[in-house]
Subunit: 209 residues, 3 copies
């Protein structure tokens, strides 16, 4: 289990580092700023999770692979910046990969600490979504997950599925893969068919914004 | 004492969740965004406090009532959104409730850890005010407590009173209630009579902003 | 070593509190907001570092001198606000002092915890730079270190020097002083000669912004 978590965590960091670096370059940050935003986007959610749990050092302290994955993701994003400059799709793909992988990791860590399933879900959502929230705060924008994108909801649904599967499974490997795949698929469907959450504000949303 | 802290903490979360949800809806967040802002506003101050103290898990890990209070507050705010849309008063009331209750809780936890009274005051102010600061950061605004509202100052004054009463009292129950009530009253007076902190900038503030 | 770290930490807090207070006054915060921004700017980087390390209370819990330095810096900045209102130089000087001192402190604490040198560098950069990042988030601006200023890069370079010197030195005192001085000098040179990081975006940066 430990090893599986570590693999998907490194892959998620790589994906989210690319997502962060693309956002930073879109905002024309300098190279070091691009690196920092990539780093914060990649490790931010898991870092918040780990600071919430009193006896956990942050996960990247003893795991240099996470850092290598971040640096690799940022460098790749910088090298390919001209090709992906006007493409939203890669950003979406990498964001979704990170979301699926990290949600599962966060829930698993919560379960390892014998926390209430509801708390585990919250930890999963934080791990999956809050790297992106920190990214948007640092580039001084309203976090996209709160308005434009059905993001955290997907994370929550997949997290619920994981908890369910985990309850019946003997090990954590295949539930984590199924739940991560489910999250990615669900998000793809949501984006493809432009499914949104119910609008609380009536039609006058068109007038005001 | 533990129990009193827990009760007022749950009540404060309920109040601040409403305050957060109202702000999020004012910014036209989607339902899940409203829930997250409500959650962060409610537990944010206490969460920062708990991460600062090395050996404390965050308070809502083992306390499902906090989460129920947050969800109840957010749902209530969503249901009543049409009635309270144009009213600033409820937001003010709930904000003030949370401020009073949480300031006292934060100081008490500082005292439990044998921290210097000045540090306890800071922890109280963080607990009382920083949920709202996080709320404002997430909706991408300058935190209101820094410019428009005499908020943290009230928290500090009431916190000082609590420390004084606590020094002479045999238990923490009535000092905490008196100090919380004092904070709410003081804030009411401050808002009612539009009392502001001294202006550092002379009259040209009118020209610039 | 402990004592040296404490001295330079207090001096760095004084410097960064001034920097934070100046920024807050530039944004016309009320007196308490100026105090809070000064406080967060001064202790923010070190506080993030300490929350990342599971077994560390934040450094200012048991060190009232830090708080006195913050209050002194804020009060000084308020008293002198008319003289330094239109001067960017003092802000730069104090920022640079804090950067140099805190970077070294952060790396030293990482070394004390037997962390990987790369992680120590990151902790040094966080300690040196992220107080300013929090300051800019709180005044709702894009952190200056990501776009306009070669700041974190300087911190990183000086941090590397410190790790090198520390490897060969018998105690930590003179390497920390040399590295801190190097960071300040390097930043002075960078600002003086307007050295920037390579531009990733071609000349159209002029058109877009």
């Amino acid at each position: 289990v430990e090893l599986v978590i570590q693999y998907i965590s490194v892959a998620g960091c790589f994906a989210l580092a690319i997502s962060g670096a693309l956002t930073a370059m879109h905002n024309r940050f300098d190279p070091f700023g691009v690196l920092i935003i990539g780093f914060v986007t990649a490790v931010g959610g898991g870092t918040i999770r780990d600071t919430l749990i009193a006896d956990r050092d942050v996960f990247w302290f003893y795991d240099p692979y996470t850092l290598y994955a971040v640096v690799a993701g940022v460098v790749l994003a910088i090298l390919l910046r001209k090709r992906i400059k006007y493409l939203n799709k890669p950003l979406l793909v990498f964001d979704t990969l990170g979301l699926g992988l990290f949600t599962v990791t966060g829930i698993q860590i919560g379960l390892d600490h014998d926390l209430h399933p509801l708390i585990c879900l919250i930890l999963g959502t934080i791990t999956g979504s809050f790297g992106g929230v920190l990214r948007d705060i640092l580039v001084n924008e309203v976090p996209v997950i709160f308005k434009k994108e059905v993001y955290a909801t997907v994370s929550l649904a997949g997290g619920g599925l994981y908890l369910l599967l985990h309850h019946f499974a003997s090990d954590a490997t295949w539930p984590s893969l199924v739940a991560a795949a489910f999250i990615m698929l669900l998000r793809y469907v949501v984006v493809k068919f432009k499914i949104g959450l119910p609008n609380l504000y009536g039609k006058d949303i068109l007038k005001k914004e």
